[in-house]
């Protein structure tokens, strides 16, 4: 069975600095993958290369059997890839419902099937906000939201693009214990609906609870990939975190 996402030999440099070196990664349809690594290991760079915000110099990214090389980020979203940003980036002058409208108008409606129009779009926006518990604030502006609400909006907006694969980039940073639980539940629910999820996190508890498989990035290289309980006991991983 071909993997949903296939990253092959991906390399990215910034001048003389090698940010990513020959990354090989496969994600199966419906999987829950966790991606961890110390600061500066290249996790965000990898996400940016997969999503098209950055261009990788070597290697390739394939999604649902199609090579994504050269495609713009918006085109990749059309094909079913979505990501949330580490620091929430809402559309500040638009209401919450309107924030969700954007991916519906530009991602969902860019596809040949499943398009929405008129009242159906409004209904979808409100439904999605309801799923993340923000239905009551549908007509408010993002600046009226608390930190966790902003993160939920960020995830809801990624969900509005009806992705096949969602990359949640440190969606839980700065949240309390209970708030982390809420987001984990949300992502598991989403996965239950058939969305493949890659979770990038520093909060180990969340990653361990959520992931079916765990990959570890250190200094631009993938050093482990497998069952979470085994990966965290892998010598190289332990050395990377505890130091040598």
């Amino acid at each position: 069975m071909t993997a949903l996402l296939h990253v092959e030999g991906l390399g990215k440099r910034f001048g003389g600095f090698v940010a990513l070196d020959g990354i090989e990664l496969e994600v199966q349809d419906g999987e829950r993958l966790g991606l961890i690594g110390p600061n500066g290991s290249g996790k965000s760079t990898l996400v940016n290369c997969i999503c098209g915000t950055l261009r990788n110099e070597t290697g390739s990214v394939s999604f649902a059997g199609e090579k994504l090389d050269g495609l713009l980020a918006s085109q990749r979203t059309h094909r079913g890839l979505a990501r949330s940003f580490q620091l929430p980036r809402p559309f500040a002058s638009l209401s919450l419902a309107e924030n969700l409208r954007i991916p519906i108008l530009y991602a969902v409606n860019a596809r040949s099937t499943g398009r929405l129009a008129g009242a159906a779009i409004d209904a979808r926006c409100r439904d999605l906000l309801g799923e993340v518990g923000l239905a009551g604030k549908a007509d408010r502006l993002p600046r009226d939201l608390t930190q966790i609400e902003m993160r939920k909006l960020e995830l809801a907006r990624a969900m509005a693009a009806q992705p096949k694969l969602l990359i949640a980039d440190e969606a839980m940073a700065g949240l309390s214990h209970a708030e982390v639980d809420e987001i984990i539940a949300l992502l598991i629910r989403l996965n239950g609906q058939g969305v493949t999820v890659i979770m990038i996190e520093h909060i180990m508890r969340a990653v361990m609870e959520f992931s079916q498989r765990l990959a570890v990035l250190v200094a631009g290289k993938k050093i482990a990939d497998g069952a979470p309980k085994e990966v965290v006991r892998n010598d190289e991983v332990v050395r990377a975190y505890l130091g040598e």
């Binding site: 980020a73 918006s74 979505a82 990501r83 980036r89 559309f91 954007i102 530009y106 409606n109």
Partner: protein, 312 residues
């Protein structure tokens, strides 16, 4: 109010204004009216790229002058060409330059794009100043026809009517954009371009549409100018007035809706005309500049924004 009825209302208002001017039977009214309405068009055009999409264009004079000078060229080559046709050509030429510049510079975010538009204004001005066919630095004379086609009376009446027509078209376009998915796309780009791109908005394509429309309307606003002034030279065609006003008026009126540039043009344009008559024309740019600074600091949402806040 849906799009169709809105256009009808605009046309009705325009007709009333034109009727009023005709009734006053004072050619001064037409001259002033032309200037104010021209600024509504220029401001609306600027606002499509600046207010809606968030890309500040300092190269207004380039597009405006492309429209003006293409009329000069057409008038020399095909004297019988009717003005509406010249306006169309002027608009298309300016629109193409807009898209072309956009393609070269829109990969530069924010500030760099604005600086590039400034460079564009200088380049176009230099090219035209050195182009003998349009008179170069010496300027070009354009004979204004004696009487207005279709409606009779002075030619200036006709110019005013044409400009009113352009105004209706540009306002209807701006409002249509506001309520469409295009408008949402522009707003997303303005608020956060990276998030917009990640949400599926084809940002480069939309930005090119914005620059094309914006440049095109500016060109159309400039096309009748040679007939209005009858003598067009680079220093007046590329006057700072146009650039400052085209930015100041939407900022003062409010950049988030089609109404803002209208309010800004009428108030500031009216004020400028009053001062020009009572004091001197040199005060015009000063007035626009000072008001712009005041509003940006105190009321960045413009006059329209102030009213919106009061209602909330």
């Amino acid at each position: 109010m849906r799009g169709g009825p809105f256009i009808l209302v605009l046309i009705a208002v325009a007709a009333v204004i034109f009727g009023l001017a005709r009734w006053l039977d004072n050619s001064y009214a037409f001259f002033v009216g032309y200037v104010v309405v021209q600024y509504i068009v220029l401001g609306t055009a600027w606002n499509i790229l600046g207010g809606y999409t968030g890309y500040v264009n300092f190269g207004i004079t380039a597009f405006f002058a492309i429209g003006a000078y293409s009329s000069v060229v057409l008038h020399k080559l095909v004297p019988a060409m009717p003005l509406p046709a010249m306006i169309l050509v002027g608009g298309v030429m300016a629109g193409i330059v807009g898209i072309g510049t956009g393609y070269l510079t829109l990969r530069l975010r924010g500030v760099y794009f604005s600086i590039a538009t400034l460079a564009l204004a200088v380049v176009v001005q230099t090219l035209i100043t050195n182009w003998d066919f349009v008179g170069g630095a010496r300027g070009a004379y354009v004979l204004r026809p004696r009487t207005a086609p279709l409606i009779g009376g002075g030619y200036i009446d006709y110019l005013f009517l044409i400009m009113l027509g352009l105004c209706v078209i540009s306002l209807a376009t701006a409002r249509a954009i506001e309520r469409s998915s295009l408008g949402y796309g522009f707003a997303a780009i303005r608020d956060d371009e990276a998030a917009a791109e990640a949400s599926g908005v084809p940002t480069l394509k939309l930005k090119l549409i914005a620059t094309g429309l914006s440049g095109g309307f500016m060109g159309m606003a400039g096309a009748p100018l040679p007939f209005y002034v009858t003598y067009l030279d680079p220093s007046s065609g590329f006057s700072l007035n146009y650039a400052v006003n085209a930015i100041a008026m939407p900022l003062i009126g409010g950049t988030s809706t089609w109404l803002g540039p209208v309010v800004g043009a009428v108030l500031v344009g009216g004020l400028q005309e009053y001062l020009r008559v009572t004091i001197s024309s040199a005060v015009n740019v000063l007035v626009a500049g000072v008001l712009m600074v005041v509003f940006v600091i105190i009321a960045p949402q413009g006059i329209v924004g102030l009213f919106k806040r009061k209602r909330q």
